[in-house]
Amino acid sequence: MKLLVLLAALVAVATCTETFVGHQVLRVIPRSHEELHKVQELQHLEHLQLDFWLAPRGLGVPVDIRVPFPSLQAVKAHLEAAGVSYSIMIEDVQALLDEEQLEMLRSSRQLPLDTDTFNYETYHTIDEIYAFLDLLVAENPNLVSKLEIGRSTEDRPLYVLKFSTGGSNRPAVWIDTGIHSREWVTQASGVWFAKKIVQDHANNEGVASILKTMDIFLEIVTNPDGFAFTHSTNRLWRKTRSRHAGSICVGVDPNRNWDAGFGDAGASGNSCSETYHGPYPNSEPEVKSIVDFVKSHGNIKAFISIHSYSQLLLYPYGYTSTPAPDHQELDELAAKAVAALSSLYGTKFEYGSIITTIYRASGSTVDWTYNQGIKYSFTFELRDTGRYGFLLPAKQIVPTAQETWLALKVIMEHARDNSD
């Protein structure tokens, strides 16, 4: 929106005296304090006649600079000498004005300037989601921070957002989405949850009360290699992208790789299978990083892992038909959560233990977290029930996230009120 106003202003000016032939708009996203400093230096070089459409605000936040043609070489040299990367957002400002292509700037594929202009109603790439994380942190530095808990097989960072109003090692809730990469509505919902937490806090409603005494950890792209693969190559890829010695095929099912009944019935020992458990528990860095995080945190009270599809809310166990010791409480809590979810759009969810409701599954996430003592361990399977399956239409993202959030709040509130 701001770009349009600025361009409109330029149109007004251009019709009077100035011309913008050859002017370029460069975008820099400072990734370090050194880089930020370099960009800020430019602001003091008045002879360059730079016009900052977006002034430097902080790390990870875009800086947009309209550079007059005579200054282009100097500015680019200044940035390149310091190793600061930039992109050319507008190659020739005058050409843009001449063609009256103000509409180009409305394109949804432009990088959003902030989390208010981010489009929650569409599916995004990993770069777009990672940029969103940085924007959210930059806009809410007192509430949100980004933790790197590890790196994937293909060396992508594994990022977790921490939402905290203070304290030290407060009791916490963990939510992850996208552990199975083809379940796109989950990552998309995770992005929506992140924004929702920030909004609730700002408006002192919803989860604001939970944040008074608890922290929330949210890992949105839990399987980034798989997610990148669903964009580049195979939309229906589920597993990680690891290659293990002796394995013919690529990838391990990250929801069979946990140390709970590992390798028992309910997972496959065949690397080509979609439920391949991997060579040993936690062989996958995507899994190990969470295991390490949970163990070192030591104070997680609720752990919720989000999948799609089938419209189910599940609790342990999957690897054994022995009921979990807390199954009655978990069942009652699931009933409440599902009722809350359903209250919004009438979406019907079933609930129960993994093994009785869906099928036997060994080495699953919440069986491990439950056995670690995290009583409120749940797995969601979001919309739908098979009509679109993994290919859920984008217009269902926000309704899905909204209804799921109501169920998550029920679980979080119960965890807060029932933890010692």
Partner: protein, 213 residues
């Protein structure tokens, strides 16, 4: 032995329901009608000695193009012992009327017959779940094809859904039928596998669909 009540919310019953829905899509679906399961109301299972397991189901369906109407059905699904080799036996009774598709069927038939170039399409829905409106009839015809495949290939331990139409190609014929060669991707819930399946569908407004794998 007597029939045992099953929780309709749990997968063993849901698997049998998926077979019944597949069978019904094959029998009654078409480019103008797609049947979807709204709710499994009731499920019972009977173990018949030397024969197999029989499921008795009460289902509520909807026609995705006629959503306000509720369609109630009863179904029986018999999985034969050692059932990996033969298809489950299915019987379905639909209560009441389904919306007529005569007009839509004829319009689709005429449109395809009048195409100069054979129709080709892929990735229905696309990665974002979109189906262009002009491809919706082909999408629903894929439900007919996948319904047949699901019925023919299900066992008590599988639950299939159509994940995506990977590819569809029209093949012009000298007779009156329309022919579409599909590559379907079927998602099997228990193994989580996505299996490609080649299917040919012959369709005619008055003769309905015939499917061959």
């Amino acid at each position: 032995s007597p029939a045992m009540e099953l929780p309709p919310s749990h997968f063993p019953a849901a698997r049998a329901a998926a077979v019944a829905v597949g069978y019904l899509r094959y029998l009654r679906g078409g480019p103008g009608r797609g049947l979807e399961l709204r709710e499994l109301r009731r499920a019972r299972r009977q173990d018949i000695d030397d024969v197999g397991h029989k499921y008795y189901l009460e289902l509520e369906l909807e026609d995705v193009l006629d959503k306000d109407r509720r369609v109630s059905c009863t179904a029986e699904v018999l999985y034969h012992l050692g059932s990996t080799s033969c298809a489950p036996e299915v019987q379905v009774t639909v209560q009441g009327e389904l919306r007529s598709t005569e007009e839509a069927d004829q319009e689709f038939y005429n449109r395809i017959r009048s195409l100069e170039k054979e129709l080709v399409a892929e990735n229905i829905p696309d990665s974002h779940g979109n189906v262009p409106p002009e491809l919706e009839p082909l999408h629903l015809l894929a439900w007919v094809a996948s319904g047949y495949v699901i019925w023919q290939n299900s066992t008590e331990n599988t639950k299939f859904h159509l994940a995506q139409v990977k590819h569809v190609k029209q093949v012009k014929r000298n007779d009156e039928d329309l022919q579409f060669d599909y590559v379907l991707l079927l998602h099997e819930m228990v193994s989580q596998e996505v299996l490609p399946w080649q299917v040919t569908v012959l369709w005619h407004p008055q003769h309905g669909a015939r499917v061959s794998q």
